[in-house]
């Protein structure tokens, strides 16, 4: 999927048309009165009847809905006829982050809209990737890399009035370039994405070097004239002072860790506690009342232990909080958090796996239905294979996504811009 670099929407359409002075369409050529009148009417109608597509991916969607709600009421602009089918929509308000997997669908939806069609990019994510510009392997860095965008509304999310202002901007645009110019799509951003911070710094440095060379004489002159100059001192603003407050510790509920461990030791004598060699009751008590038992389990005990924890009446850990993994570079650790909804105690456990291409571990799906997706997630992100899993497919990423992104050695310069700081 080469979505990050360019868009399949490159085909027909006169590209490279220079925008007008204010960034809008170039002004219409002066023609006869009738044509202009028709243009005016059509532009008026189109700009006042923008039916948006029901499209929202994340946070901005809520603000988009709030724009439609009573307090801001986009019906005043004739926008309330939100259509679920792109065939009847005129406008996509890109409300929320566009990720690579969604990108192809977005293009499909955009293509399925009949023209003339307009796009408002709402919020930082759709304008540039926003908070997900750096380090994210899945976010499209600006929706204008996929489809042409007419109006950019910055904010995170922009408040409803800001969106309404964007809509008014769009109306202005449509009125200006009404009938004929609506055939011209706005350009798609084909520029390769780059680390903007470093790039800006580099450009600045180059300019700065030249500037400094030009200033050298003046600086020396200044030094000579003001030998005592120490520079302007800007005072720090006094920050409010806060007191140190002791932390209130609430004891963990249910069976105390020592008791659980003692019980478990009778079944699994090899069981260890993470970061606590040769654990005993005293050592565990020293970890404080908040401590939740964190067991290290050998691979062969993994399934029987969890089975026991779930079924034994003394533990009744019937609730899988989460199952995840950590890449320690030399090994993987699969981490399981269990909770007893009845007794209130938690048990964490972790099972070390070799750092192979695809380490294997028995699946928990027979014990916890919840484990199904958690294990798929772990497979997706870490490449850990769970034997006996009924449907081990990637959960979040496309099937052809290269590699497992949460591994520490994951590199993909075609997708990821590394944070420079």
């Amino acid at each position: 999927m080469g979505l990050m670099g360019g868009s399949p929407l490159t085909g027909p359409g006169p590209e490279g048309i220079q925008p007008g002075p204010d960034g809008g369409f170039p002004p219409l050529p002066e023609t006869g009165g009738l044509t202009n009148a028709v243009d005016w009417v059509v532009g008026w109608a189109r700009s006042n009847s923008l039916w948006p597509l029901v499209f929202g991916t994340s946070c901005c969607a809520i603000e988009m809905m709030a724009t439609g709600a009573s307090h801001n009421d986009w019906a005043r602009f004739g926008l309330e006829v939100a259509r679920a089918s792109p065939r009847q929509a005129d406008l996509i308000i890109l409300a929320g982050t566009i990720v690579e997997k969604m990108g192809s669908r977005l293009i499909t939806l955009y293509e399925q809209m009949p023209g003339p069609k307009y796009v408002i990019a709402m919020g930082a994510c759709t304008i540039s990737g926003g908070p997900f510009y750096y380090d994210s392997y899945s976010v499209v860095k600006g929706a204008d890399r996929l489809i042409p965008v007419d109006v950019y509304v910055p904010g995170c999310p922009p408040r409803p009035e800001a969106l309404l202002y964007g809509v008014m901007k769009l109306q202005e645009l449509i009125k200006k370039g009404a009938w004929r110019n609506s055939l011209i799509p706005r350009p798609i951003n084909h520029a390769p994405f780059k680390d903007e911070m470093s790039e800006t710094a580099r450009e600045w440095e180059a300019k700065e070097k030249l500037k400094q060379e030009g200033m050298k004489e003046a600086q020396e002159k200044f030094k000579a004239e003001n030998p005592d100059f120490k520079g302007v001192v800007i005072k720090r603003v006094a920050a409010p002072k806060f007191d140190e407050v002791a932390r209130v510790v609430r004891p963990a509920r249910g069976l105390p860790p020592a008791e659980i461990l003692a019980l478990l030791k009778t079944f699994f004598p090899t069981l260890g506690v993470y970061n606590l060699p040769e654990p005993d009751a005293a050592k565990l008590a020293a970890l404080g009342p908040e401590y939740v038992l964190d067991l290290t389990v050998p691979k062969e005990d993994y399934l029987p232990l969890i089975s026991l924890l779930r079924d034994d009446a003394r533990f009744k850990l019937d609730f899988l909080i989460e199952l995840t993994a950590v890449d320690w570079k030399d090994r993987f650790e699969v981490i399981v958090h269990l909770l007893s909804t009845e007794k209130g105690h938690k048990v964490f456990l972790r099972c070390a796996l070799p750092h192979d291409a695809h380490p294997e571990l028995p699946s928990l799906t027979d014990l916890f239905s919840a484990a199904n997706w958690h294990e798929r997630e772990a497979w997706d992100f870490f490449g850990i294979r769970f034997t006996g899993h009924p449907d081990l497919r990637r959960l979040f990423l496309d099937d052809d996504f290269p590699g497992h992104p949460l591994r520490k050695d994951f590199e993909d310069p075609s997708r990821v811009v590394k944070r420079p700081y």
């Binding site: 908070p131 922009p158 202002y165 100059f229």
Partner: protein, 189 residues
Amino acid sequence: MSEETPKPDATPEVKPAEAKPAAPPPPPPVTYPRSAGVTMAAAPKASLSRFLGDAFGLFKGMNVTMRYFRKPSRIVTREYPENRGTLKMSERFRGQVVMPHDEKNEHTCTACTLCEKACPNGSISILTTKNLASKRVLGAFVYRLSSCTLCNLCIEACPFDAIRMGHGFEMATFTRDPLDLILNKTEGR
């Protein structure tokens, strides 16, 4: 299946929360008292009186919408472009990062780059230059509104009150370029 009469009308049973004061010293761990077993109720028996009651409920619902219709005073719409004159943002509103300048067109930024480091999105680039006195001062405060999440971390990080959250929100543009701003009007002192 329980033998109890089903009661789908009733709000679900509520179990009282065992509010326990968490005062130090910590009490010994206790098994937490739980609610009794949960029953699954059977489908409600249809009866004429039930049906009529429900049907009357529909009219009550119509009364709710009618109340709004009857009273135009309950309309809450703020007419945005018309109310521009009176529109006041709340004091803490985070619209965009601005750099206050005094009457001499000077600001208080020292190019310490704390905000740059605090920014989680890389929206700020502090570009330094050397002034006449060869001091390292702010050359350009590049602020990329296009990627700013208005999270306030830069403002909190700034020890000099050089930047602040502005109240503007009418920032929509036709292209992306105007969204990359340089906040300082003059170089640092």
